[in-house]
Subunit: 126 residues, 4 copies
């Protein structure tokens, strides 16, 4: 998945505002669901973020075309750990680990099979 940097993404330092890289990773995760025709809105529960560990290597700028990559490194029935990264011209500029838990009525629950299978397809042993 490619992401173009627009004015909305930048700040007065002339670089991409730091929380936006984390947004792009969310776009990439959501796109997995959309492309598999999984309607996240129709489920009782939702994937909720528990933790993020992010490293910023290089800034991105207006007009840059970034590439999103990643995979699932831990897959359980109620949660996943995703490893995601962003490259520009093949060079990694950002990486993060994100832990998501499937939650129903405020409590962890077993995720729908189609979620699990989608994650399984994107699973990779570290």
């Amino acid at each position: 998945m490619n992401i173009r940097i627009y004015y909305e993404d930048t700040d007065a330092l002339g670089i991409v505002y730091h929380t936006n890289y984390i947004k792009y990773c969310d776009r990439a995760r959501s796109e997995l669901f959309f492309e598999s025709d999984i309607d996240m809105k129709s489920e009782k529960g939702a994937l909720v973020i528990r933790s993020i560990n992010a490293n910023y290597m290089q800034p991105a700028y207006l007009g840059d075309m970034l590439k999103l990559g990643g995979y699932i490194s831990i897959l359980k029935k109620t949660s996943v750990l995703a490893k995601q990264f962003i490259t520009r011209n093949g060079i990694k500029i950002f990486e993060m680990d994100i832990r998501l838990v499937y939650v129903e009525n405020g409590k962890p629950a077993i995720m729908p099979d189609k979620y699990y299978n989608l994650f399984l397809k994107n699973f990779k042993k570290d």
Copy 2:
């Protein structure tokens, strides 16, 4: 209501990104409701935006302290027209007219009395 400009509000031109002024006006409208202890989430319907006419007079910058002002200039049972503006040190830098319609199940509906009364308190004839 005062609003401070942070990095998140600015863009690579070094000024506040243009849609953010419209966000600040939304904050000011919402604050009216919160301060009157009106829980917008408990209503069946919601105020939905139909049109915005905005004029940008002067840019705002990182660290600026802006002041929001405004009033209701047209008040009907299902809709309102709000006139909102932003000043910095007493000088107007942005103004907009926004028309909101109360919508239930996708259709215009009569707004709750507490909404109407709140708007009435903030009504001013042009």
Copy 3:
């Protein structure tokens, strides 16, 4: 230009937050420049927004794929009026007129030829 709706675009009403449609129009304008290899950062001046007139016809939702369209309807040496709109499955859900002025050192200035020519290519008489 197509734009997918992600969680970041939506709000607690379950629809796209109103200022985001205006952001998408900015993306479409910027994309014109990027695709023509015009580096907006290398110019002394910049296009600054003077006014926006926007109409909201239908809400958009998580996962929607929207299509951006538009053209320049007034073209002067220092300013343009752009007419932009957003459709979903061929139905218009948002439209806006936006007036932009080329500004150098805080004052209107004649825009670079490459800007003017790009706008001219996208000019259409109403």
Copy 4:
């Protein structure tokens, strides 16, 4: 520092979008500078984010009033580690460690004395 949750902060799940908590922490750091009358724009360099470790404990909702807290736990001449957290009614709902490096012309540099002294005032041994 208190932060009110508005529609712009929420997403279609009805909760605050996950990157916004990180934005609020940025607001709190910037406010330290603004309240000390330090003009970040006048410096040659800037504080750039290197890493974020964030934990999400509880969601926040439209209308919530959140409280930001935090301190500097590591202070060097070119970088700091800040520990920041967000509470609602005295209960912690979010916490993060953020490492910032002072950068001039793309390289780490010794931060201005007024930056260092401001961080020193907010330093606390873990």
